[in-house]
């Protein structure tokens, strides 16, 4: 059975009109126009164009909920396998609308294809799930953009592999682990030889770029401050009641320590990335509740917060860690905690 393709165009490329028609209310038309028609022209028997949604860019921007609801309804009626939006080149409002339309389609489980210029602000809203062809910044390059999008539609419909390099789309950022023909040592030797001979090579791991976190303002009076404990050291009550993972954590946990003066004896670590023997003798060596209680009694700090927070750092994906941090930070903020002693291993 042929795979169904649904298109999305703005008022301009949909042939309705220019800026004066930018508030055009979305419509579904079975007859293709403009870029949609051009892309569908070369479809074989395995692809069937079911129609095009045309929506004014200002309409999408100003009445986004309405536009999205309309798109969702058409998708529900037409049941497309592939959704093609744009190309939007460097048009900001159009790019944003294409990204929003793709989000609706993606949520409905439909494969999304678009085309944008690298600086189009819509790109970041759909790059992670849509296959967005790399286009020039202006519609003058339409002839180059359409074959790229058509190629993506065909290959994705046929279940063929596409890659950013071969198929000229913006990488979605998904790093798929695969088995290859040459073992790693051979690849490394070849890469070094290429460097020594000033030949071309491709790194398998482009370096990540990091966030810069701005430090919070200092605590002016510790004697009145509530201090919380948090750790990536995998500290949990004996028996690990919440089943925290020993590596590659998928969760964080919090435990009530309001009735404890130390962790020794009742807590241990499940962290799989360091020698746990000394920690298991006295978990305070990783999460120093004992020392903090002494400071509390001496009046050096106001109060130890009633709960500590724990996850396992080793092998834990940064995306997970970022999420844990946001969740834990929000709780601590809401609880009025002034400072956090964050320990690792």
């Amino acid at each position: 059975m042929a795979k169904k393709v649904l298109f999305y165009l703005n008022q301009f490329f949909g042939g309705i009109g220019g800026e004066d028609k930018a508030d055009f209310e979305p419509e579904f038309r079975a007859e293709l126009v403009g870029p949609a028609e051009a892309i569908a022209k070369n479809f074989g028997d395995d692809l069937e164009a079911v129609g095009v949604i045309i929506c004014g860019d200002n309409f999408f921007g100003q009445k986004e909920d309405e536009a999205r609801a309309f798109i969702a309804q058409v998708i529900d009626e037409q049941q497309p396998d592939i959704f093609v939006a744009g190309p939007a080149f460097n048009a900001g409002r159009y790019g944003f609308a294409c990204a929003g339309a793709c989000q609706v389609a993606n949520e409905a489980g439909v494969t999304c294809v678009s085309g944008m210029y690298e600086e189009n602000p819509g790109l970041e809203h759909c790059q992670s799930f849509a296959w967005v062809a790399q286009t020039a910044n202006a519609a003058a390059q339409m002839r180059k953009a359409l074959p790229l999008m058509a190629n993506l539609v065909k290959k994705l419909a046929a279940g063929e592999e596409v890659t950013p390099d071969d198929d000229k789309y913006f990488a979605q950022g998904r790093r798929e682990c695969i088995l290859v023909e040459e073992r790693g040592s051979v690849r490394a030797v070849n890469m070094l030889l290429a460097r020594l001979n000033d030949e071309e090579f491709t790194t398998e791991l482009p370096m990540p770029s990091f966030d810069v976190v701005e430090p919070a303002a200092p605590i002016l009076d510790l004697s009145k401050a509530t201090i919380a404990l948090a750790t990536s050291g995998g500290i949990v009550p004996n028996g690990n009641p919440d089943r925290l993972q020993s590596a590659s954590a998928q969760q964080w946990n919090k435990y009530d320590i309001s009735s404890y003066d130390q962790l020794k004896g009742d807590f241990y670590t499940v962290h799989g990335g360091f020698d746990p023997v000394y920690c298991n003798e006295t978990a305070d060596r990783v999460l120093p509740l004992d020392a903090l209680r002494d400071m509390e009694k001496a009046g050096k700090i106001g109060k130890v917060y009633d709960f500590f927070y724990a996850t396992t750092g080793t092998g834990t994906a940064v995306a997970n860690a970022r999420k844990f941090g946001e969740e834990i930070g929000k709780e601590l903020k809401e609880a009025g905690v002034d400072g956090v002693l964050l320990t690792s291993t």
């Binding site: 070094l192 460097r195 791991l205 990540p208 799989g272 360091f274």
Partner: protein, 427 residues
């Protein structure tokens, strides 16, 4: 140095009452093997099994893998560990190629792993292709974890030396000769070839995170230059380091893939001037000292290019990029080998540290990739232990014996000395 590897290709293994090889079939003297391990009075019991390629056998929790060998002209064993110290890397060694000792037994720590001999799991470990003599070690009661680890580590080495006795009089199928003279000699021979060093980073961080060179704990050394053949000839043993997927087992030290592949190029495209250990320490001071010293050593030896391999992930990522940065600043070109933690869906940041100088990096796979493993006909060891491995979790073992784990838990899956075939592709 000149090392002769006399290879005896093993095509099958049977348990029996004598050590011998006939027509490629290795017979293992089971009672003799047990006795060889029980010389340690901290070993209470030993069981021996066989696992062959293609059999629906799952081995877990695996501690170490060791290649059985025999030395005619020197101390037979692991100098500085199971025998007295002796320089290695010269002379002839008989190798039961295709056989491996695999040690299992009660868990010591989280860094042990799984070997599946068939199906999906077999694709991800190099040790599904070896005929495995599985040695299940039960220590006496009351040992603390550090003592327990020493017991199983030494038991595996002794078992490999005992089984290796079968190589003493076996017919040799092939002899490979490795020869590299002094740096002065080789440089005179190949004056125009770029000088290349191999920096091997090793976890050196305590229980189940150690590596030993002639018995010396790498925690205690600063980066050291050594001859590549010493490692190929039993001078280096694994202290069962880090997560199963990227620990360098003793077998992989004995057969370091980067050393083999660099040697292949020696005299052709490069002048391979040796290996350096760079221990990965836990303290920031230690990292600065070792990374600085490592780069200085490479510079002092006149290297034009360096391959750096990591062991483990997380904090050692810092050592990796710190060494790279320092080498590049000294004008030495580098290529790095590391695995990555990109999360279950592959969308997370792959490394925990970064350097603009790291332009040539081989990825040996995503340790967090989840694989589904069907039930085995036979489990050697304890299937439930998979739940406490790094890369397993409570509930990852199903009632029917099927298993869901991250590559983290699979022995050698993302080997950072490039011993296996995993990589990562960006979509």
């Amino acid at each position: 140095m000149r090392l002769e590897q006399n290879l005896i290709y093993i095509k099958d293994v049977v348990l029996g009452d004598v050590n011998k090889v006939e027509d490629g079939v290795l017979t293992v003297d089971v009672e003799g093997l047990k006795a060889a391990v029980m010389v340690d009075d901290k070993v209470k019991d030993v069981k021996v099994d066989i696992a062959k390629p293609g059999e629906k056998v799952r081995i877990v929790p695996v501690k170490d893998v060791i290649e059985p060998r025999f030395r005619k002209d020197g101390r037979n064993g692991f100098p500085g560990v199971t025998t007295k110290y002796e320089e290695t890397g010269n002379g002839a060694v008989n190798i039961l190629k295709g056989a491996a000792i695999v040690t299992i037994g009660d868990m010591v720590g989280f860094q042990e792993g799984v070997i599946d001999m068939w199906g999906e799991g077999a694709r991800w470990t190099p040790f599904s292709e070896t005929f495995n003599i599985v040695v299940d070690i039960t220590p006496i009661d009351g040992l603390d974890p550090h003592q327990h680890e020493v017991v199983v580590r030494l038991a595996g080495l002794r078992a490999s030396t005992f089984v290796g006795l079968a190589a003493e009089n076996a017919a040799i199928d092939e002899t490979k000769v490795f020869e590299i003279g002094t740096m002065a000699e080789e440089t005179a021979k190949y004056p125009d070839l770029p000088k290349v060093l191999y920096v091997q980073m090793n976890i050196a961080q305590g229980l189940l995170h150690d590596t030993f060179f002639y018995g010396v704990d790498l925690k205690e050394i600063i980066p050291t230059w050594f001859h590549p053949f010493e490692e190929l000839d039993n001078a280096v043993i694994s202290g069962n380091c880090v997560a199963a997927c990227d620990k360098i087992t003793t077998y992989q030290h004995q057969n370091n893939a980067l050393t083999y592949d660099l040697y292949d190029q020696h005299g052709k495209t490069i002048n391979f001037i040796g290996n350096i250990f760079s221990p990965e320490l836990t303290t920031l001071d230690g990292k600065f000292r070792n990374c600085d010293y490592c780069a200085k050593l490479c510079d002092q030896l006149g290297a034009d290019g360096v391959i750096v391999s990591e062991e483990g992930y997380g904090n050692p990522d810092s050592d990796l990029v710190m060494i790279c940065k320092r080498l590049e600043k000294r004008g030495i070109k580098t290529a790095l080998v590391t695995d990555e933690c990109s999360g279950w869906d592959g969308t997370s940041q792959p490394l925990t540290d970064t350097a603009a100088e790291a332009v040539a990096v081989v990825s040996s796979g995503n340790v967090s990739k989840v694989i589904d493993l069907e039930p085995a006909d036979k489990v050697l060891g304890n299937l439930k232990s998979a739940q406490t491995l790094a890369g397993g979790w409570d509930g990852c073992v199903e009632e029917d014996g099927s298993l869901k784990v991250e590559l983290n838990a699979v022995i050698g899956a993302t080997s950072e000395i490039g011993y296996h075939y995993a990589s990562v592709k960006l979509y």
